[in-house]
């Protein structure tokens, strides 16, 4: 019996907990992508770098706070710096919209033009971020490291395997839960949220009903920026901040959004967890896990790792392609917010 418990703890510790934390970060990013797609109808390639930009401002503010000795230990200082990051990301999105995207929107350019324009924005933004903070890895986390330490867990349960939950992981999940709940409440209950859903569902009819398109677009950018800054900060606290990594997050983020049906917020969240858990699940070496469950004579020789961790990226992608081929609309029927 303890073998089974040990195996479960092992799986929790190395697959489920990191997967859920990563999934939460992806969910926030994917929600932003899906929201912009639902309202503005294009895939925003600059989204990953908006995450980096917001996180960078959080990092700078955190340093400033740390320099002044302001903190909220045991929680990371970055949490109180977060509003600055959100404001910066929002300011950036609105500026980009004003200078770049609005022009094409008013001319009713095809979405692919907006997509290519977003590549231009991405270029410029990558330059800005690197110009300000450089391309290197930076640490964002301070304060306590763990909610549960492996050694404490072992002592408490008497199991051989320990379960460690990092503070950053718990925090990520909590913050994501709050953000997602707030977003859904907003979309389902508020007048502005309903207007956004209506606009995403049927633009002409929404205009006919008196929905102000500029207002809806404004909300979409603001929410996407908020989610991006939060996602980036959470990812930074959990792992570290490196501009290029954030650009690379674009792929799993898009995968999550498309997987769930792009434009579909619930889908984005579900898609994010599927992507994250498959990434951790497929790259985990199951040797030890199987040793607990199988009779000794069956003990596997190799690591029983389906793919090396380097192929994480490939997994989200393979899932994406399979889903697109089997069900082009995504798991939930996409294209609209609901």
């Amino acid at each position: 019996m303890t073998d089974v418990a040990n195996a479960i703890v092992l799986l929790l510790n190395f697959v489920i907990v990191p997967g859920v934390a990563y999934g939460s970060q992806l969910a926030l990013g994917a929600l932003g992508v899906t929201l912009v797609f639902g309202i503005l109808r294009f895939a925003n390639f600059a989204h990953g770098d908006v995450m980096a930009f917001g996180t960078m401002v959080v990092l700078l503010t955190t340093w400033w706070f740390q320099g002044m000795g302001v903190g909220i230990a045991p929680l990371p200082t970055a949490l109180i710096a977060l509003p600055f990051g959100i404001a910066a990301a929002a300011a950036f999105n609105l500026t980009a919209d004003r200078l770049v995207f609005r022009f094409y929107r008013r001319r009713k350019s095809p979405p692919v033009i907006l997509l290519i324009a977003s590549i231009g924005v991405m270029f410029a933004l990558q330059g800005i971020v690197r110009l300000i903070i450089g391309p290197n890895d930076q640490r964002l986390a301070d304060g306590a490291r763990f909610i549960i330490k492996a050694s404490e867990f072992k002592a408490a349960t008497g199991l051989k395997e320990g379960l460690a939950i990092k503070l950053s992981q718990g925090l990520t999940v909590a913050v994501t839960a709050i953000a997602v709940a707030a977003l859904f409440l907003f979309l389902q209950r508020s007048r502005a949220g309903k207007a956004m859903r209506a606009y995403s569902d049927n633009e002409d009819l929404a205009l006919l009903s008196g929905v102000n398109p500029d207002r809806v677009v404004l909300y979409a950018w603001l929410i996407a920026a908020t989610l991006a800054a939060v996602a980036g900060t959470m990812y930074g606290i959990d792992k570290s901040f490196k501009p290029f990594t954030y650009f690379q997050l674009l792929l799993p983020t898009f995968s999550s959004a498309i997987l769930g049906g792009i434009g579909h917020p619930v889908g984005a969240v579900v898609g994010a967890f599927i992507v994250a858990l498959s990434e951790t699940g497929v790259t985990y070496a199951y040797k030890k896990f199987l040793r607990y469950l199988l009779p000794e004579s069956w003990e596997p020789g190799g690591l029983v790792q389906l793919l090396s961790t380097d192929y994480k990226l490939a997994i989200s992608f393979v899932i994406l392609v399979v889903v697109l081929l089997v069900r082009p609309t995504g798991i939930f029927r996409g294209r609209v917010l609901s």
Partner: protein, 482 residues
Amino acid sequence: MIRVENLHLHFGGIRAVDGVSLEIEQGSITGLIGPNGAGKTTLFNVIAGVYPPSEGRVFLQDEDITGLGPHQLFHRGVLRTAHEFSSLTVAENLTTVPAGQAGEELLNAWFRRGRVRAQEAEIRARAADVIHFLGLDEVAGERAGALSGGQKKLLELGRTMMAEPRIVFLDEVGAGVNRTLLRSIGDAILRLNRERGYTFCMIEHDIDFISRLCQPVIVMALARRGQVRPAGDRLLPGARPQTRRRPIMSFLIGDGMTGGYGDADIIRNCTIEAEQGEIAVIVGPNGAGKSTAMKAVFGMVMLRAGAVLLDGEDITRLSPQERVRKGMGFVPQERNVFTTMSVQENLEMGAYIRAGDIADPMARVFDLFPILKERRRQIAGELSGGQRQQVAIGRALMTEPRVLMLDEPTAGVSPVVMDDLFDRILEIRATGIAILMVEQNAAQALSIADRGYVLVTGENRHTDTGAALLADPEVRRSFLGG
């Protein structure tokens, strides 16, 4: 030549084509007519390979061509006309068409220029002939996207000639085309049929046009083929337009409206009026500008001349949203509900523009459409066609408008649902609202109309009370199919 056996096409739960069987004789010009939503265009698309059918077979001569793609059918001589290549010139639109061009294979294009050039010269010469035949010489070098609607139709025929097909499927080649051009299109079709032996199958709404060209005519009922009816003798042309001025100002007046979407005017000096507590109906053949006239009243069309007055106030320059605030409600023909939102949310969105309490109007809508109250938490996309239409009307009523405008509210619904919808519209009239609607089912619509407008090519042709129009033998013959 083409034999269709028991063809079905289902999209999700919708039966777009439901068990159609028909045969197209070699050398014939077969006409396909029927109400909107009968699935004529979809049927064309299935036969032409755009969608594979859910069930049933299609034969060309005796070859089973079910499930072949459009390009494969093209090479078997089956042509479905399509939109022009708007960024290519008129000449290029034609030279692209012929099959078996050596220069379309890269190796030839690279290394066998002589052969490619010779063939290209031949194709260009043919294209020049076609351009001349259609009288498009002046625009041969223009981008096809810049052509007028009528010229695009001619180009469509031109591409047909370049393809040298055995059978051509024409989808509403006459829609939105003026009489003169329509005549020359008809002439061209007849010549191609007689001189080159092309078989034609065409969807058309203009009864005159159909009866002049087509033999036989197949009438499609809702999503199913009806009876085959040979066209009778040529029907009489309509009388000259008549307009008359009313001494008293109506509640809603679209006066002498002229305008359209691009450069071409779709409606010309068109006048539409509606009075409170009355139903006004606009009928006429497809492409007559019925919807455009209504949209012009609602401010969705640029007007070059004319005015729109609501309760004596000039609203010509107001945007549609502002007109909603002034008390106009509009139900578009398609995509008229938010399919991913609940019934109740749809109604809430209807009242989005007005501040304050919406319980009262919502209660009234629920009184009018009790089924919506029952289903208020259901997602609108899951409702049946008739219920959806009720949501759409309910949505427009949420602003408590003084004028309700309906664009073909019964398109694609079954006769039972249609009767029910007409009953509801009568109930709405009883509340004292002015109702203006465009209808394809002209006879039924005129039977409940207090006044009717027959539009032809964007102009008023007949205007009278619904009953009088129904009784008018000329209107009956030309527009009500006998």
